[in-house]
């Protein structure tokens, strides 16, 4: 007991605060990473003026955004116009709350009983993530509609059509893992992936569900509206898509939401397919989360790599790919998994 508050409660509050700020820092790191990787791929330097190696660039970006004037187009719907970025950012942060990121720990003896490393440990964690990510679309649609601008509206409509189309494949790739693990809890799924085959191949679902993993990654890119599926903000056609009319901090919130969503998708992929905090070799107690961090950033690097490598699809190609290829592949993957689970008794 410290000042009459139990140590458990203090630790829980600290975890919540740490997760919240870690996400914001991740977003800042991602902005820097995106620019540097883009520079690498395009054979140029990327940011290098602000701070050593350009490390202060994200800070400069944020300062610039804060200094800018907040503009609102004539005829925009005042309430919904300002509610949209808030909704986007809130949904992005809320989804991360249920993601476990480390093994149970006592914080080197600070607590009597080990606790779970997650902002909130929920039994139906996967469903929570799915539910919140399906709410994320409202921020985008609202922004598009409330801006009273044709580019915003078209961007918002495209984005919602895309997110709805890819959500099905996204959910079905979850379902296959749920069947293998027999649990809806992310912690339960990660625990199922501990151990090794033949003593050296980690027991990850990536090796049992390679197709599911590919479907998840592809649908995840579409869900976060990243290239090559970045139609909602296709610059050549729509100026900037749904956030065309936003400036200053309300634009920053959309920006933040996009990067936090990327982090969430990568973290879910890590927990579902890459064994969460179980690595190829064990780390000392209390440091397992390093594996988690390494894997999340590996996937994030992959996302950025893809953005600067692949050109944008055409809109009809996107819909055709989503409905005619990705969804059937996800259904077949689910059926085969179900058959194996039932008849081979996994």
């Amino acid at each position: 007991m410290i000042f009459g508050i139990s140590r458990e409660l203090i630790v829980h509050l600290v975890i919540i605060v740490v997760v919240f700020f870690a996400l914001q820092i991740t977003a800042a790191v991602l902005v820097y990473m995106e620019r540097k990787v883009a520079g690498l791929i395009q054979e140029r330097y990327g940011p290098y003026l602000v701070g050593p190696k350009g490390l202060m660039q994200p800070l400069a970006d944020i300062l610039k955004l804060i200094m800018k004037e907040e503009l609102r187009p004539k005829g925009a719907d005042v309430i919904l116009f300002y509610a949209a970025p808030v909704l986007s950012a809130t949904a992005a942060f809320a989804a991360f709350a249920v993601i476990p990121f480390g093994a149970d720990t006592t914080f080197f003896g600070f607590l009597d009983h080990p606790i779970h490393l997650a902002a909130a440990d929920v039994n139906v964690g996967l469903l929570v993530i799915f539910a919140i990510s399906s709410m994320g679309v409202y921020g985008v649609v609202l922004a598009g509609w409330a801006s009273n601008s044709k580019y915003s509206l078209l961007g918002g409509l495209r984005s919602s059509a895309q997110m709805i189309s890819y959500e099905l494949a996204y959910g079905l790739s979850f379902a296959a893992v749920i069947m293998l693990a027999g649990s809806l809890s992310l912690r339960g799924i990660v625990d199922q992936q501990s151990g090794y085959w033949f003593g050296f191949i980690p027991h990850w679902y990536l090796f049992l569900q390679p197709i599911g993993f590919l479907i998840f990654l592809t649908a995840g890119v579409a869900e976060t509206n990243r290239a090559p599926f970045d139609f909602p903000e296709a610059e050549q056609e729509l100026v900037a898509g749904y956030h065309t009319e936003y400036s200053s901090m309300s634009f920053a919130l959309f920006f933040l939401a996009e990067y936090v969503n990327m982090a969430t998708v990568s973290a879910v992929a890590t927990d579902l397919f890459l064994g969460g905090w179980h690595g190829p070799f064990p780390l000392p107690d209390g440091f397992e989360w390093i594996w988690f961090l390494v894997k999340v950033f590996a996937i994030l690097f992959f996302y950025i790599w893809m953005r600067w490598t692949l050109p944008r699809y055409r809109y009809d190609q996107l819909m055709e790919f989503g409905w005619k290829w990705l969804l059937p592949a996800a259904v077949v993957n689910l059926l085969v998994t179900a058959g194996v689970v039932i008849y081979m008794g996994w």
């Binding site: 719907d77 919904l80 929920v122 039994n123 139906v124 469903l127 929570v128 799915f130 539910a131 919140i132 399906s134 709410m135 679309v137 409202y138 649609v141 609202l142 509609w145 509206l153 409509l157 919602s160 709805i164 959500e167 809806l184």
Partner: protein, 171 residues
């Protein structure tokens, strides 16, 4: 703590549901309906039915309301915001009948409320087994498999019917 959460959620639910009907702009109605669904999901969680709560959000907020939103946005329903006289949908006669009917409904509601207050609520037993996803799955796909499948066929028929009705003759 539980009681406070319940009253907050219930207040949000009731107020937003009433406001849904009162809006002149259909976009606001859609969003208020979403708020009320979210509050309902919160009440489900209080009843230890977290699975039902999540399904409520995924199905209603995530899927059905998006369709509502599309319809409202694409049909571009004229809003009453433009000013001038509010539109009168019915003539004087139907409005009188409506007044009588709503008075009868109000009395009925009042009577029902009195009865609800006078009967004591069944004691909540928190120790009761929680319905897990497994239980729901077994009930749905084993005990009520026929009803479940029949419902899905019914929904399919309704969908095909809507497409047939809405389709314009192309040839």
């Amino acid at each position: 703590m539980d009681a406070i959460t319940f009253w907050i959620l219930a207040a949000i639910l009731v107020v937003s549901s009433v406001l849904v009907v009162g809006q002149r702009n259909p976009m606001y109605s859609v969003f208020l309906l979403i708020v009320s669904f979210a509050a309902l999901a919160g009440l489900y969680i209080q009843l230890d039915a977290s699975f039902a709560a999540m399904i409520q959000i995924i199905v209603y907020v995530g899927a059905i309301m998006v369709l509502f939103l599309f319809v409202v946005m694409l049909l571009n329903v004229p809003t009453d915001d433009a000013g001038g006289e509010p539109r009168r949908m019915f003539g004087a006669g139907p409005r009188r009948i409506g007044a009588v009917l709503s008075a009868v409904f109000a009395i009925e509601l009042a009577l029902a409320l009195v009865r609800v207050v006078s009967t004591p609520l069944p004691s909540s037993d928190r120790g009761a087994p929680v319905a897990t996803v497994y239980d729901i799955g077994v009930k749905l796909f084993r005990d009520y498999a026929f009803a479940f499948e029949a419902t899905s066929v019914l929904i399919l028929v309704a969908m095909v019917g809507a497409i047939v009705l809405a389709r314009k003759e192309a040839r």
